[in-house]
């Protein structure tokens, strides 16, 4: 329905882009906003005393306000811009983690986590002599909250999980997890929101997590900008993650003092153009309405689920559609997902094949890879048709014969 708003899709009528969980396409409004920034307001924010720099600072500041409002964050200074989710999570592991985690402490992560919310904690634990505990899954690919109840104790310092699994699409019950953690420990909660912010209304303040990370490029914005929302009391006490320009207050020969939030965590020239682009993306999503984004994806997911379920030998992973967001992860008999992706590519269908940066999950599913189709605002029923046609073609090429 909105395909015409996306130049790459409009210019490639036969292209069926089903890899939005990896990165989304960009609407013209976002590209225009970034171009406009460079053509009318480009200067280094927070630096010059001249009007143009003030204008650039204004653009950057306004973008932060818009994005904070979109995410339900009342205090915009607690939204730190980063390169994306990965950097945001590394910021927490590095700054809060190194200061607060020590020998004998425990960190709980989950088998559903993306490597970006798994490896930083694993490495912190190795460095500090702490222990990582992994929350296991139920048979249908949800977090096993009984397992988490057993893992979270007074020794737990961090509980890291994702809002939505990028590999299976599972939507995790964040408020239940937060309550469970609060009841049993003083641990901080770190939520990877890379797959939730793009797809439905997220109210970070109401969720009650201590940290929430997201990526702009998965929600129609440009690559290279995402953010970390953190509780002010925690951010205030945390040491800087990187040092340099913008993040300091006074620099002496032997010591320095730090700028206020959010600047303390934003060393160097900020990516103002990308922030302006992401603000335009957020405006675009708000114009559609996040409820409509969700219902549109749900209807495509249901259609895909029904059509794919009819294909003999095709197996879909994860919970039912109503508990999933935007993702269908599947395998087809002995056709390797990479072969499937190549054959689908020949039909103009872009899907992801591989471990989806979730090797601990794949190991538990006893798989090396799945094929993953993911949906967003610009997809329609034609994309589902093309997916099914391509899968049938793969079955044909592989001369599918029941074993």
């Amino acid at each position: 329905m909105m395909r015409a708003d996306f130049p790459l899709l409009a210019n490639n009528p036969g292209l069926h882009y089903l890899d939005s969980a990896a990165t989304s396409q960009k609407p013209r409004a976002v590209l225009d906003a970034m171009r406009d920034f460079y053509e009318t307001s480009n200067a280094n924010p927070h630096r010059g005393a001249y009007l143009l720099s003030v204008q650039a600072t204004e653009c950057y500041h306004r973008a932060r306000l818009d994005i904070a409002r979109f995410l339900g964050v009342a205090d915009p200074d607690t939204l730190i811009f980063t390169r994306g989710t990965t950097e945001a999570l590394n910021l927490v592991a590095s700054s809060w983690g190194r200061t607060n985690v020590g020998p004998g402490d425990e960190i709980v992560v989950t088998a559903l986590d993306h490597h970006a919310n798994f490896v930083p904690w694993q490495q912190l634990a190795i460095e500090k002599g702490a222990t990582v505990r992994v929350c296991e899954l139920t048979a249908d690919g949800r977090l096993d909250l009984d397992c988490m109840k057993q893992l979270v104790t007074s020794r737990t310092k961090v509980v890291a999980f994702n809002h939505v699994s990028n590999a299976l699409g599972t939507i995790n019950p964040v408020t239940d997890i937060v309550r469970l953690v609060r009841d049993r420990s003083t641990a901080i909660t770190v939520c990877d929101g890379a797959q939730s912010a793009p797809h439905f209304t997220v109210d970070v303040d109401a969720m009650g997590v201590d940290f929430y990370a997201f990526s702009g490029h998965k929600m129609l914005g440009p690559m290279g900008l995402g953010g970390l929302v953190g509780r002010r009391a925690l951010l205030e006490k945390m040491p800087p993650y990187q040092s340099g320009g913008d993040m300091i207050e006074f620099v002496y020969d032997d010591r320095s003092t730090w700028n206020v939030l959010p600047h303390k965590f934003e060393a160097g020239t900020p990516n103002a153009a990308a922030a302006v682009g992401l603000a335009a993306a957020v405006a675009y999503l708000e114009q559609i309405g996040m409820d409509r984004v969700l219902s549109h994806e749900r209807s495509l997911m249901s259609l895909a689920q029904t059509r794919l379920s009819e294909i003999e030998g095709l197996r879909i992973y994860g919970p039912p559609v109503t508990d999933r967001s935007g993702v269908v992860s599947f395998t087809l008999e002995d056709v390797h997902p990479h072969d499937l992706a190549t054959i689908l590519d020949g039909e103009g269908v872009c899907i992801r094949a591989g471990h989806h940066c979730a090797q601990p999950l794949m190991r538990r599913l006893n798989l090396t890879a799945t094929a993953r189709a993911s949906f967003y605002v610009y997809n329609d029923e034609d994309d589902v048709d093309a997916l099914v046609t391509g899968i049938m073609k793969a079955r044909d090429i592989f001369g599918y014969v029941p074993a």
């Binding site: 056709v335 190549t342 590519d345 591989g354």
Partner: protein
Amino acid sequence: MSRPESSAEIAALYQEMILDHYRRPRNKGTLANPDATAEMRNPLCGDEIDLQVSFAGDKVGALKFSGRGCSISQASASMMTQIVEGKSTTEIDSIRTRFRELMLGDATAATDTRLGSLRALSGVARFPARVKCALLAWNALDTILVNRRG
């Protein structure tokens, strides 16, 4: 954006011989007392090849592979074990060089009879993302031969 993959190219990629080697791999298994082993992983897609070789003088005596992955990686490994068995390391070097040329789209390599059944993999050259799959087993063999030379 150009899309090189036509139906004909897809068909050329997934030739019957490749699917046959994928489903009925030759020399799959392990040797009792290998002289050398190498494992190769492609972390991007999870393809795995473990290669075991025993030498008979300057020649590769027997070799076996185990692993899992896409049809291209597994079929290429199966075909490789067939063609290098009983050959000298010098002969293998020359075949390997020629095979790499095949993967780079060299048209003369595609008709070079020295490559035998490996020519069935010529279609891979049109799919740059898949070349690494076809080379995985050859890289494992390369590791073994380089170590042997010391």
